[in-house]
Symmetry: D2
Subunit: 487 residues, 4 copies
Amino acid sequence: MSKVIKGGTVVTADRQYKADVLIEGEKIVEIGENLSGDEVIDASEAYVIPGGIDPHTHLEMPFMGTTAAETFESGTFAAAAGGTTMLVDFCLPGADGSLLNAIDDWDRKSKDQICVDISYHMAITGWNENIFNEMEAVVKERGINTFKHFMAYKGALMVEDDEMFASFKRCAELGALPLVHAENGDIVQELQNKYLAEGVTGPEGHAYSRPPEVEGEAANRAIMIADAAGTPLYIVHVSCEQAHEAIRRARQKGMRVYGEPLIQHLTLDESEYFNKDWQYAARRVMSPPFRNKEHQASLWAGLAAGSLQVVATDHAAFDDAQKRMGVGDFTKIPNGTGGLEERMAMLWTKGVETGRLTPEEFVAATSSNIAKILNIYPMKGALVPGADADVVVWDPTISKTISPATQKSIIDYNVFEGMEVTAQPRYTLSRGDVVWAYGQNSQPQPGRGKFVKRAPFASASKALSKWKELTTPRKIERDPLNIPSGV
Amino acid sequence: MSKVIKGGTVVTADRQYKADVLIEGEKIVEIGENLSGDEVIDASEAYVIPGGIDPHTHLEMPFMGTTAAETFESGTFAAAAGGTTMLVDFCLPGADGSLLNAIDDWDRKSKDQICVDISYHMAITGWNENIFNEMEAVVKERGINTFKHFMAYKGALMVEDDEMFASFKRCAELGALPLVHAENGDIVQELQNKYLAEGVTGPEGHAYSRPPEVEGEAANRAIMIADAAGTPLYIVHVSCEQAHEAIRRARQKGMRVYGEPLIQHLTLDESEYFNKDWQYAARRVMSPPFRNKEHQASLWAGLAAGSLQVVATDHAAFDDAQKRMGVGDFTKIPNGTGGLEERMAMLWTKGVETGRLTPEEFVAATSSNIAKILNIYPMKGALVPGADADVVVWDPTISKTISPATQKSIIDYNVFEGMEVTAQPRYTLSRGDVVWAYGQNSQPQPGRGKFVKRAPFASASKALSKWKELTTPRKIERDPLNIPSGV
Amino acid sequence: MSKVIKGGTVVTADRQYKADVLIEGEKIVEIGENLSGDEVIDASEAYVIPGGIDPHTHLEMPFMGTTAAETFESGTFAAAAGGTTMLVDFCLPGADGSLLNAIDDWDRKSKDQICVDISYHMAITGWNENIFNEMEAVVKERGINTFKHFMAYKGALMVEDDEMFASFKRCAELGALPLVHAENGDIVQELQNKYLAEGVTGPEGHAYSRPPEVEGEAANRAIMIADAAGTPLYIVHVSCEQAHEAIRRARQKGMRVYGEPLIQHLTLDESEYFNKDWQYAARRVMSPPFRNKEHQASLWAGLAAGSLQVVATDHAAFDDAQKRMGVGDFTKIPNGTGGLEERMAMLWTKGVETGRLTPEEFVAATSSNIAKILNIYPMKGALVPGADADVVVWDPTISKTISPATQKSIIDYNVFEGMEVTAQPRYTLSRGDVVWAYGQNSQPQPGRGKFVKRAPFASASKALSKWKELTTPRKIERDPLNIPSGV
Amino acid sequence: MSKVIKGGTVVTADRQYKADVLIEGEKIVEIGENLSGDEVIDASEAYVIPGGIDPHTHLEMPFMGTTAAETFESGTFAAAAGGTTMLVDFCLPGADGSLLNAIDDWDRKSKDQICVDISYHMAITGWNENIFNEMEAVVKERGINTFKHFMAYKGALMVEDDEMFASFKRCAELGALPLVHAENGDIVQELQNKYLAEGVTGPEGHAYSRPPEVEGEAANRAIMIADAAGTPLYIVHVSCEQAHEAIRRARQKGMRVYGEPLIQHLTLDESEYFNKDWQYAARRVMSPPFRNKEHQASLWAGLAAGSLQVVATDHAAFDDAQKRMGVGDFTKIPNGTGGLEERMAMLWTKGVETGRLTPEEFVAATSSNIAKILNIYPMKGALVPGADADVVVWDPTISKTISPATQKSIIDYNVFEGMEVTAQPRYTLSRGDVVWAYGQNSQPQPGRGKFVKRAPFASASKALSKWKELTTPRKIERDPLNIPSGV
Ligand SMILES: [Zn+2]
Ligand SMILES: [Zn+2]
Ligand SMILES: [Zn+2]
Ligand SMILES: [Zn+2]
Ligand SMILES: [Zn+2]
Ligand SMILES: [Zn+2]
Ligand SMILES: [Zn+2]
Ligand SMILES: [Zn+2]
């Protein structure tokens, strides 16, 4: 049975045009004028865009002594309700340290729950021969071409510079892409101690102990290590000018570095932590913390300029009870906020409606760019014949005030609560299925989502390897007579 | 009669994939596997790419007391032989100052000669009410959405800052895009006088009198003026780090500025002007002049980083006799070099083969990006059903040493002479016609090229207008009691 | 009769130490411990610093159809009351265009009025052979080694780029230093027209029509021209990050560029123009206008970093009646504010008391640096034997609220009104005379001030000339056989 | 018995003037015209400058399994012969880890040998409570106000980020200044392994494994840590644009960071390591290694711009036999080169004679700036009454070709061998004693040098503390009702 999305304006990362989209089964089969199908999905007065891809979520993640409250079911359904048809979750090794076991574990948790497609980034939280060896299977057998490295969370997830170098080099060999959480974990810990010692125990202490310079430093360091190891690099949750500046500086030297701002950092600022209501402020605790308006302006400009490429959420939702673990000590507040459901609408409202971004740039930042970076384009992130029918009918006439009362997320608050957004998905299709229809009481369809395998050696990775091979310094050939005999 | 390009790897700005390309008449009708058509064009072992677009040529241009030797026929045929299927020429007002008359004149010169498609940028070389008025017809009737401004060539083409502002503002209203040749004409003239006075009369004086700072200054100034006028800006022939830095700085503030390096500046350096043979050096005289290796590195990085978007040629070819007009006085050497025919092969060889660029970035820089900027995408610059069948079968197995003996350009020398390139167009198709087949004695088909109309209000232009409207400073409302009565 | 300043802490640009200062007549003769003299000036609990030098004033200047209300008498007395013992006023050519006549005119106006020493910067407001010739006499006979160039005030004071180049080159030959007012006059005028046309007629329109980018552009352009002409450059009233960035960028290339922020821009911001009271806002109208807090932070950092060297005032005081000339049209509000009297106390309070500057940096920024730049160090700007006894006993224990009621300036308002400063000059000595004693009803002593001659060829100027000579591009020697015969 | 230096031109960091210098015992007592004394030192046709201070030497340092060959006697005599009258050596803790014992040890080694004055920087090579405690005595009792931290030499001297933070914070409390050797030790080690594994065993491998990015990264990291800890920072041996850029970026934010390029990096480049003669290349092995010409230009500009303040040598001289420890493995070549004797003459020749620096800037960079930073100004680094009579009669008419045959250094080669310098000390006075007279067969006077104590809390340190206190983030006061009760 075919479906046709009719009457809309197709927007992709490279253009806008009036066209219908014909879907057979899970795939787009044709895009053009006057198409017909068994079922018609109305896109009149609306845009038709590739389903959003959120490359940064932590569903049901064990962290800081608790587990993120958002489940794979609630998270993937909230995603669909917001126009996102794929997310990439972070898979963390367990006590045995095995990467492959961790993937099995994540599969077990996710497979019966997921309403849309997912993939994983594999976290490297230490270094040894087993990890070195397993990385190959992770890439070649499990279809995961990205490895995450934490430069913060000392004593827990954090890795050292030599470990990063080793892992990055391994990534280069395997054609995989390293990711980093860039904050200097040593200094974060020292500043936490300092502020706690000074009696700053509230959520504002979280922000104070993770200033922009601490993030910028780590971004800069990761970039140098990636350059030395000969691999592109992807920096998650770029929140500040300092990290962005490091990225720009690197790119201007020809280094291949990607930066991912979050929708939260683009639209919320540090004053949230100064709220007189502890719970209000604690709900906003995430790492890096929100920054001031100057940093926001930097991030927005980066999206338009192309120095930043992807807008994500770092969705890691903890409920009020969990947040209260940090009463009296901000370092114990579980780090994380939500946004999966609001990312697309917030970016449209604050970006496209203001003219900061074109509609094409909106699609690039929410879907196409990350699909290219993850090497799953155009299966995902594109509207072309042959692509997965992950399609959103994006209605710029639906206004809505964000409220926990109407959200699909499992959490009972929302960091964007009270903000007005001016567009919503009229329909969200995941591989051809309508998984969300605005105002029509859609229900989660757990288990229909699939794991998406991703091949290594994306185009940028291949180009960089070529350049590195060409420009690597060469041995100076010396006449043995010019070398003293050894001692 | 249909044609099918079979067995190749399609490369576009966003991806690579094995597919055949089916053409009916002038258009691409389908791209996919196992297509068949009346005629088969073999693309095995080759790439299939959108035809190149060179947005910067001066064919038969009257300049510096002579006329560029390259004709519309020889130029467009040379283009085709190099894989370029469209070029945009600069249309200059004549003695009467009329824009519309100039377009008529250019049409007259070009229409029976052109072998591939063309368009024009309209030059604004002064400012008055007639020009203000004609600009509307240029855009709305003649289909030209770009206006060129010369900040150099004082006493000839140069415009002043207030004229640029007025014209840029007019561009903003009309949804057109201003272009600038960025060099400070006052200072160039002063430096020319200085070096001539010091007895530096040879071609090296050309380079000395147009240093990078002089270009960077003008780029920076044009950017400020465009920002004040509320329009995007396109800077032609960005040759140096100084201009590139100004562009990056602007983009990082959210300004929409595009930069176009030339293939010459990417691959040739200033030492060319120090050649002991006057004629050798004079052949390389163009503005801006070639720079040193550091500037080249900056430009290459900019292409990969996205701070520079387009590679052009500024093809303005003068023969040896014309160049000799400047014996004894470098300021009389006609400014211009060639490159139309070599642009694609040189960029591939020095860019893709080294790993500095991906194949996708190569297509973006030679074709897709400029098509988007000129608002003719995807009619041009793309391989999608419905697009013009401007297609090149790009063969990375054909090596060739560049030589005037084998070139199609009318000029009897070549600034790239002796350089080895490692790819060539096996076939070049212009709107479905094979206009070049490597090694098969293809002949020019003058008159088959068409003029391409371009609509105003590209997506970036619309977004910027929205942002400017939103952020324009507002009048402070004051109680009349708070305003003294006038004097 | 000798005087000894006893019991204080001497602060100079390079150090702090306890010492007495012995003065004979107009000169310092000794600095050391336990000195005695005929008269004792108590400096206990206070600092002893070189008298301030304000290198940027416009006293009794004819401008915008009126004349600045501050006279040479009131201005120099206000200066003394604030701890400033020398100022440099801008001398503008009159209708005949003669520089020498203008100096005579300025001498006539100033000589019987001045209470402390002065010098002039000579303005170059056009270009011709007479100016070229007179510049030599200005430097060699009149002892003026600085020439000011206005890039704004189109149709009045503004000069074009080729005129600036010619004048800068002449400065280089004469060992003089060019100064610029950096704003793009063309664009200011266009923006004035734009905002007036939109009905923005109030003082906020002044700020809107002179945005930071317009200043940054001009600074950048002046720097390029100075570099091409081979001379150091001094940029007056650097008010924004854009101009400061241009300066930093230049200095990092080894160019010798100085930047002068004003005390107003360091401490007041653009919100002043949004005041609901027209008169309040109009009093603050000056060019460049006040900027936002980010720009302030940039300027403060520049003073500490050394990328900016001098804090001045651009004192050009117009009274309320004069300001009202611009009711209904902000372009007619005379540009200028005061600050001569408050500069030192404001910089101390907002700079030294906050820790942004060291006491030594305070002295450098208010006195020593400009004395070096003007090549009158250590006669002025230093506390060493042999120097002019321009000395201030600086009392960090006197707090005061700035108020027009207590000021010496002739104007009946004050842009710093209501601000608290935490230090004041206990005594101000000008060439050995006490011209101000706090709380002791000091009176102006008109006519005792002298004109200070300044020699050309400061050390930086000589060094730059050497470097430029060494690195100037050289003629390529070609065999005549390698040069075609002319045409 | 008094001495008078007659007939010279005094050059200090702030001016040049004709004057005689009168010395009584160890001190300057008067500077002025027509002075007389018991003994006359002829300075006609010469400059009279403060004795040079080299703040970076490693005499007799145990390192990499051997001991630097330059002794305190030969080193301090070579210094005197080159116009340097004080040096600051690095004191390293021994096996017991005690700072105080290390100082005792250094005293023991140096006291009978030194010909001119010295001081120490104390190295922090680990972190524990004893070190924390001893730091106080080091500062308050031993008169050492600087602590050195190695970010490289992993497994030996290197400290981790949290250790640096702790030590920097301790420095802030004590008013001491932290110094860093900025290279990422982890990555250096990884790159050493990589190049060795690839068969690059020669001295070029040393350069390859310590690329500019690795230095820039560490500089950037140290700056962030110093900012977080609230202390100024001094970065030794800044060799490249990357580190310099990090410094400029920090200073532009108001951070107080100093940078010290070495005379070697200013004048020698990386091609030295590509010499076909192993021994030639090995002699040049130091960390960081020499860089290319672009980096040199950056460093020179920094000295003129003030973003870099001090020129040092990192004098750590190993003889040929010691260098041969690294035959077959570049990581075993002892790191270090000489320069103590040539620093002043090389900087004059390549800096002042070219016009890159003024004579005043030369004095600042070789003497006054570091004296201020070390808080010993004007006892050292100045020519004022009361200062130590460390004075050099600097003769710009003595040319000399650098040669090991004529040097005072104990080493039998010289990295500047064959270079022509155009100035030399005619006389070098150390606290009033002539310790070097050019061409007069001066002999070392071991034991006459003294250890110079330095007080903490330099002016910049105090200012920064004030600013940090003022701007430290504050606790948000919340109503207990707004804080949930703990869990
Ligand atoms: Zn994270
Ligand atoms: Zn995360
Ligand atoms: Zn041009
Ligand atoms: Zn052109
Ligand atoms: Zn001005
Ligand atoms: Zn002024
Ligand atoms: Zn070191
Ligand atoms: Zn060292």
